[in-house]
């Protein structure tokens, strides 16, 4: 039977399919949890409570969400230009370096209100700079972006280790960390900010960079669907030959898209360095760049989808940590398995259930009509 148009109502495509995928991931996770002799329902209960209900849990979930929104948007923007940016990890790392360097240099002289835009700009500039080189190599030399961005993740790690152990380390101590930033340079925590309005909130690492993440969602939506540049990016992404025919320069567009992508990933540094750690240190990117790929895939490269997928992964990270905390049988590796299954079902196997779903929606059409 020929696929009758492959039509699936939009809501089924963007709401139902992802839900089925996530549900499948949880069912398989449940089987694994049962296989190691634990109660899967208890695990789900702890994960949900741990992600949303415990003191400060929601804050932690949203703190992870903030990182995933940045890296998810980064992957999505590159994806619209037909580029698979695997380098979000390195771009986030270097973006954080930009934030750290700007804040370390200026926290003695600038007030917060001036320091904040400077550090945000530094994050974007450093992240964009780190993505510029792979973008340039792709556009001008044809070096595959997947390979070069992966390589740049390692170069970023090497550069950070060099800087943190040789240059920026606070002398006379073991830990490769810079000095702590002056307190006025810190991005206020959400529980502090809510406190200004008399709202009591539990302490958590969630800070005001969440607002910036949401603003970035709106900006990316405007950029991709409501500007000339966004149109160019999408055109290059879907057909380079047609783009050239339309008078678009693919090389320029690729470089610009990669720079925007890298800049967005770099904002992870604002959340981590200015918002939570308050000093430069190693490994603060902690895989958020890689998870951003899954987030973008799951969110169908749309800001709304990315926010929802980020929330899911934020809840998985925080709920998973609580699960490991509550019960030693849930090792961190098992949490990784659960997260991996979600990525597997919503990313790699994202369209596995699509044909079934299409058949399901095709069925109500009476045969007589279908014949005609």
């Amino acid at each position: 039977m020929a696929n009758p148009g492959g039509q699936l109502p939009a809501w089924a495509d963007i709401v139902m399919l992802p839900l089925i995928n996530v549900a499948m991931a949880f069912i398989v996770s449940g089987i694994i949890i049962a296989a190691i002799g634990q109660n899967p329902f208890e695990a789900v209960r702890i994960m949900i409570l741990g992600a949303f209900s415990y003191d400060g849990a929601l804050g932690y979930t949203l703190y992870y969400t903030t990182n995933f929104v940045f890296t998810g948007l980064a992957v999505a923007v590159a994806f619209h230009a037909g580029l698979f940016n695997i380098g979000g990890e390195g771009q986030a790392y270097i973006g954080g370096l930009g934030v750290g360097l700007a804040a370390l240099a200026l926290d003695g002289s600038l007030p917060f209100i001036l320091l904040l835009p400077v550090t945000i700009a530094a994050a974007a500039l450093f992240g964009a700079g780190w993505a510029f080189i792979p973008g340039y190599l792709q556009a001008k030399r044809g070096s595959h972006i997947v390979i070069t961005t992966i390589m740049f993740n390692f170069i970023a790690a090497a550069l950070m280790v060099y800087l943190m152990t040789q240059v920026l380390i606070r002398p006379g101590q073991m830990s490769p960390e810079s000095r702590v930033l002056a307190e006025h340079a810190w991005l206020p925590f959400m529980h502090e900010a809510l406190g200004w309005f008399g709202i009591a909130a539990a302490r958590s690492p969630l800070n005001l960079s969440l607002l910036w993440a949401l603003a970035c969602c709106v900006l990316v939506w405007l950029l991709i669907w409501h500007t000339r540049l966004g149109h160019e990016i999408r055109t290059v992404g879907s057909n380079q030959t047609a783009a050239v025919y339309a008078g678009i320069r693919p090389d320029r567009t690729i470089i610009v898209a990669m720079c925007i992508s890298g800049g967005l990933a770099g904002f992870v540094g604002v959340n981590e360095i200015l918002g939570v750690q308050h000093r430069l240190l190693l490994d603060f990117s902690a895989g958020y760049g890689f998870t951003g790929i899954a987030v973008a895939l799951m969110g169908r490269n749309h800001p709304v989808g990315i926010v929802l997928a980020s929330l899911l992964f934020g809840a998985l990270y925080q709920g998973g940590a609580e699960l490991a905390f509550e019960n030693a049988a849930f090792t961190p590796d098992l949490i990784v398995v659960i997260q991996g299954l979600v990525v597997l079902f919503s990313g790699a196997l994202g369209f596995m259930f699509r044909p079934y779903l299409e058949r399901l929606f095709a069925r109500p059409v009476p045969p007589a009509l279908a014949e005609a």
Partner: protein, 331 residues
């Protein structure tokens, strides 16, 4: 029946310690390497497991997966009434410091870093002294006067190992060559046996015939390469002599297991003290390993040499330069 007796005996034992056991709720927060890293974290795990088996007192545990979880985990332990809370690794110092201020009645211990608060015990090791000793042995065992060092992640702590080792080698033979390679710059470098084996082989190709690995799980590959090429290897942190008898010249012991065990048992017996504990050769915190697996490799002269170096360091006649004092290996 035998089993019944054993359970009865255990119950009696548990009953004897019940008063204190009921009060003590120890907790440990492992760092990003994970508790089965075959090295540092696993040393702590062995220590706390030994405590659990001996006393029957259970402990809470958590393995952090990103920097933000450090404070989250330590704080949660304190909130749940755990006491003492053991933080593993220098990276947890800021977390311990922040939480210890908020929970002045909870006892905290941190390994590998100093946190100066009235309710924190800091345990640090003089890795350079232990590395010096294995450097002495490496130089004494080498026929080519060339020895190697394979580090894990390139951080000051590992350079401290490398620097102490180099000094030990030069103490025996001032003209000896020491090849130093680091496995990588990310935490993955702690668990990359393939690369460890490649680095060791490249050092053998340059003439080295003894290699010291301070690289966590990466060391496994280094030791295998040494065995395959008929060279000597030196283990680290735990006594790893048993891995390849005949190949493992010795191991540089860093007794984090003892430190972890002492933290919990000290807290139980009321002997836990805040402040700094510096564990060097004199305190038995670091040492070289001699057991049945490597006894045939260590000649009486080598043993005499390393023991005299040990006595000299303890007595202060040899001052081993600490890389971390000035971030340079100048001696």
């Amino acid at each position: 029946m035998k089993q019944g007796m054993a359970i009865f005996a255990l119950a009696m034992l548990a009953g004897a310690g019940a008063a204190s056991a009921a009060d003590l709720k120890p907790a440990v927060v492992f760092d990003m390497g994970g508790k089965f890293d075959k090295s540092f974290n696993e040393g702590v795990y062995n220590g706390v497991e030994k405590f659990r088996q001996e006393t029957g007192i259970k402990y809470r545990e958590f393995e952090v997966k990103n920097p933000t979880q450090r404070e989250q985990a330590v704080r949660k332990m304190a909130e749940r009434g755990s006491d003492p809370v053991l933080g593993v690794g220098f990276a947890q110092a800021p977390a311990i410091e922040a939480v210890a201020k908020d929970f002045p009645d909870t006892r905290f211990t941190i390994i590998d870093m100093v946190v100066d608060l009235p309710n924190v015990q800091s345990v640090v090791f003089k890795e350079h002294e232990g590395s010096f000793l294995v450097g002495v042995l490496a130089a004494a065992a080498s026929k080519t006067a060339k020895v190697g060092f394979v580090g894990g992640m390139d951080i000051p702590l590992i350079r401290r190992f490398a620097c102490g080792y180099e000094q030990g080698v030069k103490h025996v033979d001032a003209d000896a060559d020491v090849y130093v390679n680091m496995t990588g710059t990310t935490p993955a470098a702690w668990n990359d046996p393939t690369k460890g084996s490649e680095l060791a082989r490249s050092q053998f190709d340059r003439g080295a015939d003894v290699v010291f690995a301070a690289a966590g799980g990466t060391g496994i590959g280094v030791y295998q390469a040494a065995k395959d090429n008929g060279k000597y290897a030196i283990g680290v942190d735990s006594n790893q002599n048993h891995l390849h008898p005949g190949t493992m010249l010795t191991s540089m012991l860093k007794r984090v297991d003892v430190a972890a065990y002492n933290t919990f048992s000290g807290a139980r017996d009321g002997k836990w003290q805040p402040g700094i504990q510096v564990l060097g050769l004199a305190e038995g915190g670091v040492d070289w390993a001699l057991d049945e697996h490597n006894a045939s490799l260590i000649t009486p002269e080598m043993k005499a040499r390393v023991e005299s170096a040990k006595q000299d360091i303890i007595a202060g006649r040899i001052a081993v330069h600490d890389y971390m004092a000035d971030n340079e290996c100048s001696y």
